[in-house]
């Protein structure tokens, strides 16, 4: 029997270029995302992170270049094959993208109902397992409008993992969340990697989260990959743009903390 070779890189991107009209958004991206690890793609606003994610997900057609996901070339792939590939991917969108007419549990069950012929009891059990993993079990009957920011993200995460995907994408998990909720989500992401052995790609600009969860980091700026490496390698990078990004973010954090402190003192006075 022929042994199927193990895929070392879950995703391989080569010379990816994306233009919006005359504007170049991504300019020759080359990136390898190792299987079974957490890859964080970080960069400032407008750096091209979200466009890169949309290209990987097949939501945006690149101008040129290639994207290979789990051994399948995405560009020019037949709709049926893309369909099959997407069943191996889970995506937690920045705003959650929960369906407002469905409860938390119904949102999570949707992929199971669409792609499997499981009976009602099995669907219920699987839903409860995933809800428990993200600490949302007590809130399964709530509607999306009744959820807080953190609860929305955790529900979106549960929906993304309900089919046990090989790849999990998480767009800006920390955005709009307070530090403690953000830290909880970071721990959840690490727990998912360890327990479900999936490749996780996180798009973020939050430095605290980046260095806490990442096995590998790709820093993106003005549509180009500025640096890739382990967190230690990124910290030690001699690339000025990378250092500027790291220190600017650090300064912003200090300024935010200072402003928060002053607001607290003002309130007490």
């Amino acid at each position: 029997m022929t042994e199927i070779p193990a895929v070392e890189n879950a995703i391989t991107i080569r010379d990816l270029v994306v233009d919006y009209g005359t504007r170049r958004i991504l300019d020759g991206i080359n990136l390898d995302i190792p299987a079974g690890q957490i890859m964080v793609i970080m960069g400032g606003s407008g750096a091209g992170k979200s466009t890169l994610l949309r290209c990987i997900l097949g939501l945006k057609k690149p101008t040129s270049g290639s994207i290979n996901i789990l051994g399948t070339e995405v560009n020019g792939v037949r709709a049926r094959d893309m369909h099959a590939l997407r069943k191996q991917m889970g995506v937690a969108f920045q705003g959650g993208a929960l369906f407002s007419s469905m409860s938390v549990a119904e949102n999570i069950q949707l992929p199971l109902r669409e792609h499997t012929r499981l009976d009602e009891t099995t669907i219920e059990i699987m839903t409860r397992i995933k809800l428990d993993m993200v600490n949302m079990l007590p809130h399964e009957h709530l509607m999306p409008a009744e959820l807080s920011g953190g609860m929305t993200k955790r529900t979106a995460l549960a929906r993304a993992i309900i089919m046990d995907p090989k790849l999990l994408f998480f767009d800006e998990p920390s955005s709009g969340l307070d530090p403690s909720t953000s830290a909880e989500l970071d721990e959840l992401i690490i727990m998912l990697k360890n327990s479900m052995r999936m490749t996780i790609i996180v798009i973020t600009h939050e430095l605290d989260s980046v260095f806490k969860i990442a096995d590998h980091i790709a820093v993106i700026g003005e549509g180009r990959i500025l640096e890739t490496g382990t967190p230690e390698q990124i910290r030690a990078s001699t690339n000025l743009e990378v250092q500027d990004l790291l220190h600017r973010k650090a300064r912003e954090t200090v300024v935010d903390a200072d402003a928060h402190l002053r607001r607290l003192v003002g309130e007490e006075e």
């Binding site: 997900l57 997407r86 995506v91 949707l110 669409e114 929906r159």
Partner: protein, 262 residues
Amino acid sequence: MLKKLENIGTYTLTGLEQTGRTFNLLLLVLWELARPPYRFYTIVRQIYFIGARSLSLIVISGVTIGMVLGLQFYSILERFGSVNLLGAGVALSVIRELGPVMTALMVVGRAGSAITAELGIMRITEQVDALECMAISPNKYLVAPKVIAGLISVPLLTAVFDSVALFGGYFVGVVMFGVAEGSYMNGMIDAVEWEDVRLGLVKSVIFGVLITLICCAKGFYMHLTKAGSQGAEGVSFVTTDAVVLSSIAVLFSDFLIGAIFS
């Protein structure tokens, strides 16, 4: 001058692009409908939303328009001493023209605008992208049930509109002005032929598909227009656009169908 020509060119190209996109959506919907799984429950839910929940509006507008027609026809026919033609006049106007057109316009105002707003919001909040990423076809899941529901609901609503409008005309003519009941009913039965009913049915079927398709396309493809980057304001813009465009499409296609079938 050159600027004006440029604007005309831009509007024409945008119009052609949107028409092509809407037609393409129809083809995609037909393709998706032919393939399993068949979403009967979702279609029933949409029929409830487009059809059942529009019923009160259709009944009220149908009775009112029937009464207005009865009133106007009576005052005109009385001058010529032909009030016995009242039933025929009301019935033919309602069955051939007013029934399908008014029903379609009412559905556009009530359900069409809601469809565009719903799909537009789903687009800007990445819910449509989420469906695609879950390997669920948004065309099949979101658009196709609405178009089928429009196809089924609008002819049924038109039948209701026609019935209550005829009753409205009867009420004004027979009950208020004392036209002989037999004269009203026989005039109606003699004048209306199967051809008239068929014309009304064909119109209502085409309007049903047309308005749901335009309203779906406006919301679904919102991200490809300028409104796509304007958030909530963009949704209100495409919703208004969908209502105006659907109404014009109904009136224009009414003329075309009338011309072809007459």
